[in-house]
Amino acid sequence: MFQNAAIIGVGQSAYTRRPEAGQTALTFMRDAVVAALKDAEVDAKDIQGMAVASFSLAPDAAVDLAWKLGLSLRWLVQDTNGGSSAVSMLGHALRTVESDYASPILLIGGDATGLAGYAKVAANFNTVTQKHLAPLGHGGPNGVYALVAARQMKKYGLEKSDYGHIAVSQRKWAAGNPNAVYRTPMTMEEYLAAPMVADPLSRYDCVPVIAGAQAIVVGRREQAPKTRPAVRVRAIRHSFNYDHQQGDGLQTGISTFADEFWKMAGVKPSDIDVASIYDDYPTMVLAQLNDLGMIPDNDIATFCRTVIAERRLPINTWGGMLSAGQPGGHAGGMNGISEAVLQLQGRADARQVKDAERAVVTGYGMTMYRYGGTAGAAVLERGA
């Protein structure tokens, strides 16, 4: 448990499928920063540290963004861990605040690549993708996770509708999130009738690429607004390149630290009231939940048909990226953290989970070759 460091504010920009003229990743990030600073009741001139993750910064770097935001800093990080960047940046910031080196710290994620820009990112994700995957016409991450999903279905006896329970459930949550790009309820029939993208993944298994940004303020607890308690972090862990891409991808890096993670948190999976699980694909939601020990007896099929279908455990209550949209994996991961903060502070409005006291958040990303190579998780708790 961090004694002094906590999350003291969150904010986001508008989310949109099609940015208007003049809207760029930088303007979305600016909007998120303004919202987060207001939420934290922190003046920009008091910010001492900043971390940013985005596919859209180049050729600029983090210091250029700091310059454009008018921030003079003593601590600066540019994180490149994709869908786990949010948890990664949160960990860096918490440890820095706890050590009393810098506080408050602003975390930023955002992108506005557009579909064509995202296609370029996907085909040039790393040198291995450029050399060994893109020439196959592999379909970007959709193709990669199609193979992982096929493997998962075979290993755990899953049916297509099992993934549908996640998509349908999250869409129901999204109805209560005014920032989600898709809020209209979806039926299982609609899910199953959607066109195939990369067998066995169909349209609603794949995150919609959108434009938008998220920001989070981490600081000392006494820097939090007096009107509400800061959100504390009981445990946080990360993993990078956990198996050299030679496993089956059905376990994530979370599997390397789950036992130690829960021990450090001092709580059990059953103590969790709300979960933000990085959802680039339903397949990976299930893999991460299983790694966390939140699926009894590793019986993923039964878990989908009961816990998820009946919404016994609130998972991705903002609609997840599958419904709210993915403004790059960086900001998508931050949205999960921000949602957990809102839930724990009783500020989630129509989607509020009653008496939410503890949340687990995860990140997963960087599709190096056959699946993602980075992961992180944290347990958040409503402050006293």
Partner: protein, 103 residues
């Protein structure tokens, strides 16, 4: 196109690695010799039916393959091979492909 797919064989522990490493993931030796794997078994397949940013996309098949030497790689399938099929591997540029043996 060339028969087989290039892998990198650690000179110290003989582990075959794909894609190309800098240090062996098993023993961390920096000495490698190239080798080739000629065949593998299809484990999973997918048909890529839609590609972001591509209007006239023709569906393509890809597969996760375990090579005869043990590496796991993603290949483009040039025929209708199904899971469990033993296929021959070939390389186009640096990209691995596969097709049913003897075709």
């Amino acid at each position: 196109m060339s028969e087989g797919v290039t892998i990198w064989r650690c000179m110290k522990c003989r582990t075959g690695v794909f894609p190309e490493p800098l240090l062996c993931p098993r023993c961390h030796s920096a000495q490698f010799a190239t080798d080739r794997v000629m065949e593998g078994v299809v484990e999973e397949i997918s048909v890529i039916r839609h590609m972001l940013g591509q209007g006239n996309w023709q569906p393509r098949r890809i597969a996760s393959v375990r090579t005869s030497d043990g590496q796991l790689m993603t290949v483009g399938l040039r025929d209708e091979s199904e899971p469990d099929a033993r296929i021959e591997l070939f390389q186009d540029g640096e990209a691995p492909f596969g097709r049913a043996k003897g075709t």
